[in-house]
């Protein structure tokens, strides 16, 4: 076995710890700043009036243009020209830099893997390209045997196709830090962040690596906003998770990094205990009618963690504030015998940060475990789901040992993760 030594170390000590983390959001550029803003009840959601994004004003948690992270200052010799990296890549680099700082984790060690989570990555490059080309409308192809569904060849030059790809962003970020192993990219709708954590957890548990640097980001562009608007899924005000009058999501921008390690030097840190994903096999854009599939993932995650429902002290829900998501989650939480456990959703602070959401929310969950504080669900007033839920709506101080994190997304995907205090 090539990695026998790592494998033996991890077998003796199978715990996987959060060695370091970072949240880069409109609320702050470190995890500590973010957590302190949440404790104070500060939300990053504002009304925006930007015709380049939407003809109507909309609510979202966006980076103010001035606060966007500039060209990162990197290791000596790294090319830090600002035009080398897109906003998406700069978010990742800035967040990873912060998480790596003073972490004791060496990205150039071949036992350290980089995992990127995103849904749409550099999609704003498509908007720019379409705008530059003038008329972006589909061009009928008159060649024999071609129908109007087919664009003439060359709509994507090889260079463009390569530059916009998520694997290119991952490579650029990996090269910036000098990672030796090829980076992985998880792109699985709104469970991408949890899936990336779970992927890292399993790579460490199976002894393939000792450390995993897991970073997620998404940028809110016209593409993304128009798509959710087309689904009538955007709330007319800051979103209201689990509330009776909830009417949709609020989008948000952000990046986050969680560094996992099997190295016992991090034994005092919060642990990832287990996780699972599942599929509804029901509908592409509407969640399960029963919640059974998310409940299955919750039960699997608990079993892997060696815990049962009574051990869970709070749930960090997906809580997007769409009618159907919150209803499905309520059913799943009840099926998993957790109706009295305090539940929160952070979407009222961050909006839905897509590929970053699972990471941001898991990092805040870890902070909550460490601090003994459950963050209230901002936007929530009156329970608006058909099943009992204990929605946390004021700041609660309590002894917290175990947290369940859930997420669901388009394509019928669900995910659950269990985090515990050492």
């Amino acid at each position: 076995m090539r990695n026998e030594n790592i494998y033996q170390t991890i077998m003796r000590n199978p715990d996987i710890f959060i060695a370091s983390d970072n949240i880069l959001s409109p609320l702050g550029s470190t995890t500590a700043e973010n957590f302190s803003q949440l404790v104070k009840g500060v939300s990053g959601i504002r009304q925006h009036d930007d015709v380049a994004m939407s003809l109507q004003p909309f609510y979202a948690a966006l980076f103010p243009p001035a606060a966007e992270p500039g060209s990162p200052v990197g290791p000596a010799g790294a090319n830090t020209q600002s035009d080398l990296y897109t906003k998406f890549e700069r978010l990742l680099i800035t967040s990873i830099s912060s998480a790596l700082k003073d972490s004791g984790i060496d990205p150039t060690d071949k036992k350290t893997v980089l995992i990127i989570s995103s849904t749409k990555g550099n999609i704003s490059m498509l908007e720019t390209a379409v705008a530059a080309a003038g008329s972006p409308g589909p061009v009928p192809d008159a060649r024999p045997g071609r129908d109007s569904d087919t664009r003439p060849e060359g709509a994507f030059t090889p260079a463009f196709r390569d530059r916009i790809a998520l694997h290119t962003s991952a490579r650029l970020v990996a090269e910036y830090f000098g990672f030796q192993s090829p980076p992985l990219v998880a792109s699985n709708a709104c469970i991408s962040g949890i899936m990336a954590i779970l992927t890292g957890f399993r790579l460490l548990r199976s002894g393939q690596y000792e450390n995993a640097v897991i970073a997620g980001a998404d940028v809110i562009s016209h593409f993304v906003l128009s798509g959710f608007q087309s689904f009538q899924a955007i709330s007319s005000r800051p979103c209201k998770p689990f509330d009776r009058s909830r009417d949709g999501i609020t989008l948000g921008e952000g990046a986050a990094t969680m560094i996992l390690s099997g190295n016992p030097r991090y034994a005092g840190s919060i642990k990832i205990m287990g996780g699972s994903t599942s599929n509804d096999a029901n509908h592409l854009s509407a969640p399960s009618r029963t919640g059974e599939e998310l409940a299955y993932s919750i039960n699997q995650a608990l079993a892997q963690a060696g815990l049962t429902a009574v051990d869970i002290d709070f749930i960090s829900a997906h809580g997007t504030a769409t009618l159907y998501n919150d209803e499905m989650e309520a059913k799943a939480i009840n099926l998993a015998n957790l109706p009295s456990v305090p539940v929160n959703s952070l979407k009222g602070y961050y909006g839905h940060t897509l590929g970053a959401a699972g990471l941001i929310e898991s990092i805040i969950a870890a902070q909550s475990l460490a601090a003994g504080l459950i963050i209230p669900t901002t936007g929530f007033e009156q329970l608006g789901v058909s099943q009992p839920l204990n929605i946390c709506h004021t700041l609660v101080a309590a002894t917290l040992n175990n947290c369940l994190k859930t997420a669901s997304g388009f394509g019928g995907c669900n995910a659950a993760l269990v985090l515990s205090k050492p």
Partner: protein, 205 residues
């Protein structure tokens, strides 16, 4: 041990199952090819017509891969899952969706601007509810698939896994899917990197 109990490859207007060509249509463009393959399979599955090209490609590959055999196996819905990888995510449909934004943004296209939607389509068709994941990679990495799927099977997270590569951009496409199950009788090729690579390259066609 974990074995490749079936494979399917779709490329260059041809469909292969276990290395044998089962369908070819060289005369059509991509949408025409996908439609003719669907008609050849003699399916009645109206949802096919709503899918984008990437989902059609992955769905067709899964149909040919699984035939009706998977449903004779004793697996619960949660015991079968998917691990898929591609290079171009959903870029093909991303542009088609964005072209509708000037007029009326199309929710029917927007839903396909995520690569894992293809997993959802295959799960809906076959009632698979187990662990699934979509990864983006510049090229097919047989070693990554081998390690990831073995981890899921060996830890009993799944009993059967459909895995592989489904990539499509404009007229360029390749789908290679593997059905991986636990078999002891030696009748099937082992799910190891060299065999995965060989089937991907089409060396047994």
């Amino acid at each position: 041990m974990n074995c490749i109990t079936a494979s399917c490859k779709i490329s260059h207007s041809s469909i292969y199952r276990n290395g044998q060509q089962v369908f070819a249509n060289q005369s059509a463009n991509l949408p025409g090819f996908l439609l003719s393959a669907y008609q050849f399979l003699d399916n009645s599955y109206p949802k096919f017509y709503k899918m984008d090209n990437l989902s059609k490609l992955g769905w067709l590959a899964a149909e040919v891969l699984l035939k009706d055999e998977i449903h004779t196996r004793p697996y619960r819905p949660e015991e079968t899952g998917l691990v898929l990888v591609n290079a171009n995510s959903s870029l093909d449909t991303d542009l088609k969706y964005y072209e509708t934004v000037k007029e009326i943004p199309s929710p029917a296209l927007f839903v396909y601007t995520l690569p894992n939607i293809m997993i959802g389509e295959i799960c809906i068709r076959n009632n698979f509810k187990g662990e699934s994941a979509f990864f983006i990679s510049p090229a097919f990495d047989a070693g990554f698939i081998e390690r990831t799927v073995n981890d899921l099977l060996n830890n009993n997270i799944l009993q059967a896994c459909i895995c592989g590569w489904v990539d499509l951009l404009e007229e360029d496409y390749t789908a290679v899917l593997y059905l991986v199950e636990k078999k002891e009788d030696g009748a099937f090729p082992p799910f190891i990197k060299s065999m995965i690579h060989k089937i991907f390259q089409g060396e047994n066609e």
